[in-house]
Structures are given as structure tokens and as C-alpha cells.
């Protein structure tokens, strides 16, 4: 009997010890890597951001392994504006994503470090944290994934990540910043793009007149309201692709630019002929600032874009069914309707976003 009691005692105590220490350990965050011996850094103590979604916006899915911290965002900001990421250290991310153009490029095609010219317009960086796929053809499946690509693109930064990582490692300032952000000075490309992604997730545009109107703080004038009514009705029928508060469905459509598209868009990624000529719907937030327009920057002005949807649509095998006026080459807007639509589109401009000091270079 005493033996049984003792055995029970041991089992219970073992279970208790396991519960008190084993289970709590499994829930604890992994310990950060210590910094390199040669550096003397303060203790890793990041400040986590309590991210609040702007009113009316959908939930933002932030990867569990890349929570926003003040230190991670600060590092991402420095990297974003640092030409150290390019082959000859002359071109930064900001070189093609300019704040005055709502973080897009005001040129039709961007120039790489050696004067190479790309074939697509640099997409704007506006609310990227809500984008499940990035680039015009959707080839990046996260903001982190997107940030990897331009560094090695031969017509963009034309560098190699190992070379860039070596440069970063050679900088005591970067070693400190990586340590502060991630608890390690062992810099990798994965950590670099995590930091850039953290910074880009703070590119939040939610303070336009459109936002103030939807929250009941201001009223549209007559022309803006008429444009709104067109946009969000079958007359303009813009909302199916550019709806919700993000003003993009983040999906892919053939909007009737070409009967036989030179750039096959999504097909390059999916290898499906049904995706030929489909491109990611860009957000219309700050559309006034992001000229030129479309994946190839073919339209210089918003007036040209409206004219295209009014009378310039081209039929094709993969034309999106949402291009309902394709049989008539467009909606054939009246001059006033075009003016009203333009007035509404200008209410999407968010100057607080493009002038946000936190998004400018340090």
C-alpha cells in the first residue's frame, strides 16, 4: 500500500512539474539570438505595435512571424530609402515608389540602375497589408515576398542578395538595427524583407474626402455625388472591381485594353490561357496622383482612362464579364458624366497619406 502511495506521489509530482514548467515553456516565445560577440548591443527589447485597423477597413492579416514593432518598422524605413540594396548603390525602393506619386512611379516605366527599362509601371504602395497577392501579375504572395524581387531583377536594382547582405553585415549601424528589430545581428535577406514589409504595412491611406464622407463627417458636392452614384451603380459599374473601402477587389481582370495582349499578365504566373491579359486591380485610392495608368502606363491622364472605359474597350477571349458594355466598346458617358466621375475620383486623394512624415526618409 505504501509502495502504491509513493508511486502515486511521484506520478502526481512529476505531472505537476510538467504542467508548471513544461507546458508554460512550450507557450513561451523562442529566446532571441544573442548579438555577435564583437558587438556590444543593448538587450533585445522590441516595442510591439498595437495595430488598429482604420474604421470600416477589413481585418489585416499580419504574419505571425513578422509582428509589427517600432524597431522593425524603423529598420524597414531605412532599408526602403537606402540605395545599398541595388547593385551599384544608386537606386533605392523609393527611386521607383515616390511619395509624391502615392508611392508609385510618375514615369511610364521605371529605369534600372544601368538604364534598363522595365515593361510594366511600378505599382503604387497603398495599403499593401491587405493584399494577398502583389505585382500586376500577382506573382508575390506576401509583402515580404514582393520585397525580395526588385533587388535581383536585372532591369531594376540588379544586385544579388548575398552581396547586399554582406554590405549590410559590414555596417555596424545595420547590425545594431537588425539586432534591435529581430534580436540578431546575423543579417539575412529574409530579415531584410521582413523589415521592409513591416514598414510597408504602415502605408495606410484612410483619410481622403471619400473616407470622411463614408464616415458622415463631410458631404459631397453635387458633381462629386453624381460621380459617386455612377461609380457605385451599373451606370459606371466601377465598384465591382474597385469596391469596398480598399477600392480594389485585389483580384485579376482583363478590362479590355487589347484584343491580343502583348503582355499576357496573370498567364505568366498561372500558365493558363484563361488568364491571358488579366492584371491585378489597382486600388483607386490616390488615383489622382498615380499617373500614368494601367499596367503599362499607356494612359497619361485620368481623362484618358475615363475615355477608355467610355468608348475604348477592346473585345478578347478573356474579357471579363464585368466589362458589360464590351459590345458597344464602352459605356458612352456624357461629357457631364465624365466630369462627375473625375470629380469623384479626386475625392480619393489622401494628402495626409502622401505627406505622412513617418513614411518619408529619415
Amino acid at each position: 500500500m505504501q509502495l502504491v502511495k509513493s508511486a502515486l506521489h511521484i506520478i502526481l509530482l512529476t505531472g505537476t512539474v510538467w504542467l508548471l514548467f513544461g507546458t508554460s515553456f512550450s507557450c513561451r516565445d523562442p529566446k532571441p539570438m544573442p548579438p555577435d560577440d564583437k558587438d556590444s548591443f543593448p538587450a533585445f527589447d522590441p516595442t510591439y505595435i498595437d495595430f488598429k485597423v482604420p474604421e470600416g477597413f477589413p481585418l489585416m492579416e499580419i504574419p505571425e512571424d513578422n509582428a509589427l514593432t517600432e524597431e522593425g518598422i524603423a529598420l524597414g524605413r531605412k532599408l526602403f530609402y537606402d540605395p545599398i540594396l541595388s547593385g551599384d548603390s544608386t537606386l533605392s525602393c523609393a527611386g521607383c515608389h515616390k511619395s509624391r506619386a502615392a508611392f508609385s512611379d510618375d514615369r511610364r516605366f521605371s529605369f534600372g540602375i544601368d538604364g534598363s527599362i522595365g515593361t510594366r509601371q511600378a505599382m503604387q504602395i497603398i495599403n499593401p497589408g491587405w493584399m494577398p497577392k502583389l505585382f500586376w501579375d500577382g506573382r508575390a504572395k506576401s509583402v515580404e515576398d514582393q520585397a525580395l524581387a526588385p533587388v535581383e531583377n536585372p532591369v531594376e536594382m540588379k544586385a544579388h542578395w548575398p552581396m547586399v547582405v554582406d554590405r549590410l553585415k559590414a555596417s555596424k549601424e545595420y547590425r545594431l538595427l537588425f539586432h534591435q528589430a529581430f534580436g540578431t545581428a546575423d543579417i539575412t535577406k529574409e530579415l531584410a524583407v521582413k523589415a521592409i514589409a513591416q514598414f510597408e504595412r504602415t502605408f495606410l491611406s484612410y483619410r481622403s474626402k471619400f473616407d470622411r464622407e463614408r464616415l458622415g463627417k463631410v458631404f459631397y458636392d453635387v458633381e462629386e455625388q453624381d460621380g459617386y452614384d455612377m461609380f457605385f451603380s451599373e451606370r459606371g459599374d466601377c465598384f465591382h472591381c474597385h469596391g469596398g473601402v480598399l477600392l480594389t477587389d485585389n483580384a485579376f481582370h482583363n478590362n479590355g485594353l487589347d484584343t491580343i495582349p502583348e503582355d499576357t499578365g496573370l498567364e505568366e504566373v498561372t500558365h493558363s490561357e484563361f488568364d491571358r491579359g488579366k492584371f491585378k486591380t489597382p486600388t483607386l485610392r490616390n488615383i489622382e496622383l498615380t499617373a500614368p495608368y494601367m499596367h503599362d502606363g499607356r494612359f497619361r491622364t485620368l481623362e484618358e482612362v475615363i475615355d477608355f472605359y467610355s468608348e475604348g474597350l477592346q473585345p478578347s477571349k478573356t474579357i471579363d464579364p464585368l466589362m458589360k458594355a464590351i459590345r458597344n466598346r464602352g459605356k458612352h458617358f456624357t461629357p457631364y458624366e465624365k466630369k462627375a466621375l473625375l470629380a469623384f475620383l479626386k475625392t480619393l486623394t489622401d494628402t495626409a497619406f502622401v505627406n505622412n512624415p513617418a513614411l518619408q526618409p529619415l
Binding site: 506521489h9 502526481l12 509530482l13 505531472g15 505537476t16 504542467l19 508548471l20 507546458t23 477597413f57 477589413p58 481585418l59 491587405w130 494577398p132 458622415g216 452614384d229 457605385f232 451603380s233 451599373e234 459599374d237 465598384f239 469596391g243 469596398g244 473601402v245 480598399l246 477587389d249 485585389n250 483580384a251 484563361f274 473585345p315 477571349k317 474579357i319 471579363d320 464579364p321 464585368l322 466589362m323 458589360k324 464590351i326 459590345r327
Partner: protein
């Protein structure tokens, strides 16, 4: 005394641990797989292989639909109700099944609302995700008797899109069967589907296919011809009426099985 307290604490902690790790043994599961067909053919996107009852070859390019107010009824008429709804999107594999936790019982019928009833069709009824925001119904097509600032027209019920050969002669047109609350009308409807056999739930799992027959939207009892209403039916209550009537035969249950 101390030893006794340690025993008590240990037993309590272990029991608490076991309890918290264990699933409720009193619940079973019903997994409903969202499946689609076109008449007697499987649904294949972007293939011009279907023939509408009005005589047009057609293809389907997109299909999304919201079902809400799921309900199970047992043989005595008692019901288990589930709040909220579900968006099925053919481009999202994670949306193609629903796992219902079900209390023990002998169930005979599965019911749901196609779309959202007028009372439930407000933005707050469903999760605020981009997928659901893409289903928002625009204010301009909501109940215009409500001031714009207070108007919340909720969601589309369905976005079913494709292309068709208008005369069988190669003239390709587009269709968009977008259903929803046209100018505030309640175009949702309730569907009751009896199980082919009683589903006895007792800490076990059953599976069933909830089949949407896309062809039925175009017939039975009304012939729905894409040509009649054109590609934009959201503001056309007459088109919504036809589809609402046809919708009664769109759904069925298939391949009920116990796992």
C-alpha cells in the same frame, strides 16, 4: 498537511489540464462540402461546354455565393441553429466546406437561407474581411427610402458570371447573374433539404455534398434568357424575381456518408 495540499493541487492541475485538452465528447460533426454542377455535367470554369435552356452555349468564369442561417432539424422537429453565414468562392479552396459542430441527435433535415434575409443583410452580420467586402451591395442599389447616410444594403447573395454565344454563331456576350437586395427587396429564400437517411450524431462525423446546379437558375419554373435582361441585372427586380423562383430547385444534398 502540506503533502495533502500538494496532492490536491496536483490532482486539480492534472484534471484541469486533461479537461482543457479534451474536445467536448458530447458533440459530433457534420461536414458540408460545397459542390457545383451544370445539369448532368461537372462544373469546369471557362469551358464553353454548357447549353442554356434558352439555347445559348455558355461558360462560367466566376461563382461566389453566400448562404446563412444554417439549421439542422431532428426527427421530432427540434432545431439546431447556426448564426452567421458562409461565402463560397470557387477561387478559394478553403471556402469549399463547412464543419458544423452538432449536439447528439437524430437529424432528418438541413436548411439554410440563400443569401441573407432582409433583417440580416447588414454589413455587421458577416465577418469584416476583404472577401466579404467584395460582396458588398452598393448603396445606390439599396433601399432608397432610407437616407443615404443610414442606408446599409449589405451584401450580394451571388455573383455568377460567364460568357455565352448569343446566337450560336460566335457572337460572344457576357452575363452576370448578380442577385441581392435590389432597392431593398428581400430576394433571399429558405431552402429545406431532407437527408436521404437519418443522420445520427453522437461524437462522430458525417459528410454530405451540398450541390448547386447552375443550370437550374436558368429554368424551372421560369426560362431565364441572358438576352432578356442583358448583362446587368442588379437593378432589375423582374430578373431577381425569376431567379428567386428558379432558385428553389437549385440545391440538393448528395453522397451522405458517415466517416
Amino acid at each position: 498537511m502540506i503533502r495533502r495540499n500538494i496532492y490536491s493541487l496536483s490532482v486539480a492541475l492534472i484534471l484541469l489540464s486533461l479537461y482543457s485538452c479534451h474536445k467536448d465528447p458530447q458533440k459530433g460533426h457534420l461536414i458540408v462540402h460545397m459542390t457545383q454542377k451544370v445539369g448532368d455535367k461537372a462544373l469546369e470554369l471557362n469551358k464553353m461546354v454548357y447549353q442554356s435552356p434558352a439555347g445559348h452555349p455558355y461558360q462560367v468564369s466566376k461563382l461566389k455565393y453566400i448562404l446563412t442561417e444554417f439549421e439542422l432539424a431532428d426527427k421530432d422537429g427540434n432545431t439546431v441553429k447556426y448564426e452567421g453565414g458562409h461565402l463560397t468562392d470557387l477561387t478559394d479552396s478553403t471556402s469549399m466546406a463547412i464543419d458544423f459542430e452538432v449536439p447528439p441527435g437524430e437529424y432528418t433535415q438541413f436548411s439554410f437561407t440563400y443569401g441573407l434575409s432582409k433583417a440580416n443583410n447588414v454589413k455587421s452580420y458577416l465577418p469584416n474581411t476583404q472577401a466579404y467586402q467584395n460582396m458588398y451591395w452598393p448603396k445606390t442599389l439599396g433601399d432608397t427610402s432610407v437616407p443615404s447616410a443610414q442606408r446599409d444594403p449589405g451584401f450580394h447573395y451571388m455573383q455568377y458570371e460567364g460568357r455565352y454565344d448569343s446566337l450560336g454563331s460566335g457572337v460572344i456576350k457576357v452575363f452576370n447573374l448578380h442577385t441581392g437586395p435590389t432597392y431593398g427587396a428581400d430576394n433571399s429564400f429558405v431552402v429545406h433539404l431532407p437527408f436521404s437517411q437519418n443522420v445520427t450524431i453522437d461524437n462522430n462525423t458525417w459528410e454530405v455534398n451540398l450541390v448547386m446546379d447552375l443550370q437550374e437558375w436558368l429554368q424551372n419554373p421560369n426560362l431565364f434568357d441572358y438576352e432578356t435582361f442583358g448583362p446587368a441585372i442588379m437593378p432589375q427586380q423582374a430578373a431577381q424575381d425569376l431567379l428567386k423562383a428558379n432558385g428553389q430547385t437549385v440545391y440538393s444534398l448528395d453522397q451522405l456518408s458517415e466517416k
